[in-house]
């Protein structure tokens, strides 16, 4: 049951991710990206990582993508304003893409199918266990990353602050 759901959702993730690239309109791209994130949320639920699922839902779908959409709506991008690319850049892009495909195919060929990994502790993704892990053995990295976020926030406020002299 769970395996079939996984394959179904995984197919959807791939389709939506491709649509992000192929959509002509940037707003449509963002909307497909939101759908892709939604399928990721379902993947987390399937892995029994409820906290990660709901945080992915709130932070990525509910906040970051709203800001993406916000910015793109303000930019008002459409076909007329898009700069035309020179053929040289297109050729370079095709060559680079082919190189990537060759590398990926080569690496996948070398890989062997392993038996599915079974978690020692299936309840690890629940809020309580995750909190105990984060605030126990991983306290220092957790605090350091929060400090990093704080620094980024202060930086953003500083950058957006108007010069007092100009007013």
């Amino acid at each position: 049951m769970s395996t079939q759901v996984f394959y179904f959702v995984a197919t959807l993730s791939i389709i939506f991710s491709l649509m992000v690239i192929f959509a002509k309109n940037p707003i449509h791209s963002v909307l497909y990206l939101i759908l892709t994130f939604f399928t990721f949320t379902v993947h987390y639920v399937l892995l029994n990582a409820q906290f990660l699922a709901v945080v992915n839902f709130i932070v990525y779908m509910g906040a970051i993508m709203v800001l993406f959409l916000f910015v793109l709506m303000l930019l008002n991008l459409n076909n007329e304003t898009e700069p035309s690319k020179s053929p040289l850049i297109k050729i370079v892009g095709v060559i680079a893409g082919c190189c990537l495909v060759v590398t990926l195919v080569g690496s996948f060929k070398a890989a062997t199918i392993t038996s599915p990994l079974i978690l020692k502790n299936p309840g690890l993704g629940l809020v309580e266990n995750l909190g105990k892990e984060l605030f126990g053995p991983f306290l220092l990295p957790f605090e350091l990353s929060s400090l990093l976020l704080l620094a980024a926030m202060v930086g953003a406020v500083l950058l957006s602050k108007r010069d007092e002299v100009e007013i």
């Binding site: 909307l31 939101i34 709130i58 779908m61 509910g62 906040a63 709203v66 916000f70 809020v127």
Partner: protein, 345 residues
């Protein structure tokens, strides 16, 4: 997963869905009556006695009107917008515990669709998703005023979500759980969270006003500046969906406020009532009490709407970022310190 379980949940979902729709329908009537009362008018009184058939008349009117899709709009997104708004408004009811488990024919039936152990965060996720309906609809209309309104809605929603989340954190420090069922069970009798978290409740309530786009925070549909806001181009039942979604949102956020801070289905003297009425009728009485609380909050929403004028946009942002967020952080610190002191001694 047996069939009985699925049927039981299906009936529960259908009943909750029906009740939300009926309450939203009569909220439109109540809003007009409350407005009339506050402005010394009569309000709707033609359709049926006291005008109680007015919502039905409005519904028929909405369905019968001509449906216009602007030629320059993005057709699919124009249709998806109102649908998404209504969907996001409705799915919030899934995790709210409507009553204590009820005994029907020797079987204990929980009056909650899903008791997930991240219930509070689920509500939060649904709230943050709600803005997409407005944004997509406003953008797809291809109208400058709609777009401005959609952008206002998005920035307002994101700003007030932060303060809302912070005010919930202070509550979670006390309850030690994210499950709404457990949070309600902890507030037995009159042991409600609002006595311990008055400031948190105030911040949460102000933010719910902003998240549901209700006055004084209804800047996305500010008529004097934006014609009709994000639904300027909408007509017929699509417009109806947007208006309806607002009332369902109001219902759900009233239910969440009552659940988190006002004890949900708990009331003083509930143990006595439980022995008096037995395991079938006592939970139903609790559901009734819960709905009285919800109706009070819905009335409060309307009361505020017809009392306080709309904010200016910079006032809105100042209140959110410079007023509520620092207050909410101070609330978390005070709660944390008090809990640490209590645990120490």
């Amino acid at each position: 997963m047996d069939t009985g379980f699925i049927i039981e949940k299906f009936i529960l979902v259908a009943v909750i869905f029906g009740i939300s729709l009926v309450i939203a329908m009569y909220s439109t009537y109540a809003e007009r009556k409350v407005a009339a009362y506050l402005q010394d008018r009569l309000g709707p009184d033609r359709a049926g006695p006291f005008g109680i058939l007015q919502p039905l008349a409005d519904g028929v009117k909405m369905f019968m009107k001509e449906e216009i899709i602007p030629t320059t709009s993005n057709k699919w997104l124009f249709i998806i917008g109102p649908g998404l708004a209504l969907l996001c408004a409705c799915i919030g009811t899934a995790v709210i515990p409507w009553g204590s488990p009820m005994e029907i024919g020797g079987k204990i039936v929980p009056l909650q669709v899903a008791d997930i152990n991240v219930g509070v965060l689920y509500i939060f996720g649904v709230v943050s998703l709600g803005v997409y309906g407005v944004m997509i609809g406003g953008w797809a209309s291809n109208n400058k005023y709609s777009l401005l309104s959609a952008i206002r809605a998005a920035s307002q929603n994101i700003s007030y979500e932060i303060a809302m989340g912070l005010s919930i954190i202070a509550l979670l420090l006390m309850t030690n759980t994210l499950s709404l069922k457990t949070i309600v069970e902890q507030q037995h009798g009159l042991n409600w969270n609002v006595w311990y978290q008055p400031l948190g409740f105030l911040i949460f309530m102000i933010c719910s006003f902003a998240e549901t786009n209700r006055a004084p925070f209804d800047l996305p549909e500010c008529e004097t500046e934006l014609i009709g806001g994000y639904h300027t181009e909408y007509s017929s039942m699509k417009l109806g969906f947007y208006l309806f979604a607002e009332y369902i949102n109001m219902f759900v956020s009233s239910a969440v406020m009552a659940t988190l801070y006002f004890g949900g289905y708990n009331y003083p003297g509930m143990d006595y009532m439980a022995t008096l009425l037995g395991p079938t009728w006592a939970p139903l009485f609790g559901v009734g009490v819960f709905f009285i609380k919800i109706v009070f909050f819905i009335f409060f929403f309307m009361w505020v709407r017809w009392t306080i004028p709309r904010f200016r946009y910079d006032q809105l942002m100042n209140l959110g970022w410079k007023g509520l967020i620092p207050l909410a952080i101070a609330n978390i610190i005070i709660t944390g310190v008090v809990i640490a002191i209590i645990e120490k001694f």
